[in-house]
Amino acid sequence: MKLRRVAVIGGGHTPFVTHSPNTSLELLAEASMDAIVNSNISPKDIQAINCGNVLGDFTDGQGMIQSYLANDIGCNNVPATRFEGACATGTIAVRDAAMLVAAGVYDIMLVCGVEKATAMDTALATRTFAMFSDSRYENPAGFTFPAVFAMLCHLYSSHYDIPLEKLKEQMAQVSVQSHFYGAKNPNAQFQKELTTEKVLAGPMVTTPLQLMDCCPFTDGAAAVVIASEDVAKKLTDKPVYIAGTGQASSGHLASQYKYLPRIRAREISVKQAYKMAGIGPEDVDICELHDCFSIASIIAAESLGFAEFGTAGQLWEKGDTRIGGKIPINISGGLKSKGHPLGATGISQVYEVTKQLRGELTDQGRQVDGAKVGLVDTLGGDGIIVNLVLKRD
């Protein structure tokens, strides 16, 4: 099967907020229409839609949102598919669309995602997020999603012999760095800088993770239009190619015991993406990785190849993850400062990297000069990882 090159040709992104006055469908339609207009096409040019929405059934009482979206924006009767992979949902939807376009099934697809997590109160949100762990072998004991990463955090401290206090200092610096850039992102849910003192003074959620070690519940949507290379070149002079993709799944946390605190699925997934794109971690100019919790950034950075195992906290300590550093990470503010509307997050990461590679973030004061290669990293629950490599020619 001969595979064509596939590019992102335009995107849309609502502000990520608390308590949006709009429904999930409306947010999805807003982001989608912006992506369509920014791609110099109209809704009737879209041949199929991939849509990420994880908890719409709970937040809006709305299942099957993808079909209503197609209709609302005038993509009448096109095939529309909903994806669910917990927090990795949006990126799964992008990877799937990239494969369909590469294989020649479609020439132009819309990929969009939305979540209205703040429509649920904390108790219900905690319960629904706990559905991303094993309902038989984890939930009965009271697993919550933060608890998964909290246990990984203590395990990381013990396994690599890093005193917990030192690790927490490094984690606080992850949060500070996220918010430093989120403050420059007009779409970010939280646009205020933090200090390590503020992070370490916050309320405890689940030991050792405090409030600002955790990403918030968020409402928002994002969308991109994907096209084959020849179609892309007719519509934009700045196509951003999806040069590599990878995806892997896992069993529940305890079943990964031979690898923890490393997440084996990520190592498998990113290797696929790097190989397909013909690059290594040293070639990455900008990375949007899955910082659902500050410790998650540290664990992710190592598996993505940016630091030796057990040392990634030093990347943040030394300022290596800032613009001008060795590996700029989450210059959007990441999940913690920008927000984390589950179904939208992966697409938001693709949108962000696309903007960086097109050099369009100078006005916001967060452009990485000369960025040509970007990496997207998205994790769902205690198991699904998706990685994408994006490149400008």
Partner: protein, 135 residues
């Protein structure tokens, strides 16, 4: 093809403090909690065994923010335990004030008991789960 040990069987055994797992006839690996196939080699040739429930704590967390309907339980401590037979399982650590639990518990030996979660709006049946106390 049916599970050798389905969840209902596992849970009912756990209510009698029996920890069931699978021993692989192909590679000898022990899978606990049980799955459809061997954890290591994916063989379906499995023998039902009972594990000792003894092991040591590898990690923990004390939770303060509860899931819907479980507000009365917080704070509670989750642990992962490396069983003497090899696999890790998760459960609660009891016998100690959750607020006082520190990194010092990592490496301590524990013995398994059980508790029952009576289900909620999003889970149909009740489910037994392991609880651990210091040996």
């Amino acid at each position: 093809m049916k599970y050798k040990i389905d969840f209902r069987t596992y849970s009912n055994a756990l209510k009698k403090n029996q920890l069931l797992g699978l021993k692989c006839s192909s590679c000898g690996c022990i899978t606990c909690p049980p799955k459809m196939v061997c954890q290591e080699c994916a063989s379906t040739e499995q023998e039902i065994i009972e594990l000792s429930g003894q092991g040591k704590i590898t990690t923990f967390t004390t939770t303060y923010v509860a899931s819907l309907g479980r507000e009365a339980e917080v704070p509670y401590t989750l642990v992962m335990v490396a069983l003497d037979e090899g696999p890790w399982i998760s459960g609660n650590l009891i016998d100690m004030d959750p607020a006082k639990i520190t990194m010092d518990v990592i490496g301590r030996r524990v013995t398994m008991g059980h508790k029952v979660f009576h289900g909620d709006l999003y889970s149909s049946d009740e489910a037994a789960y392991p609880v651990f106390s210091f040996s």
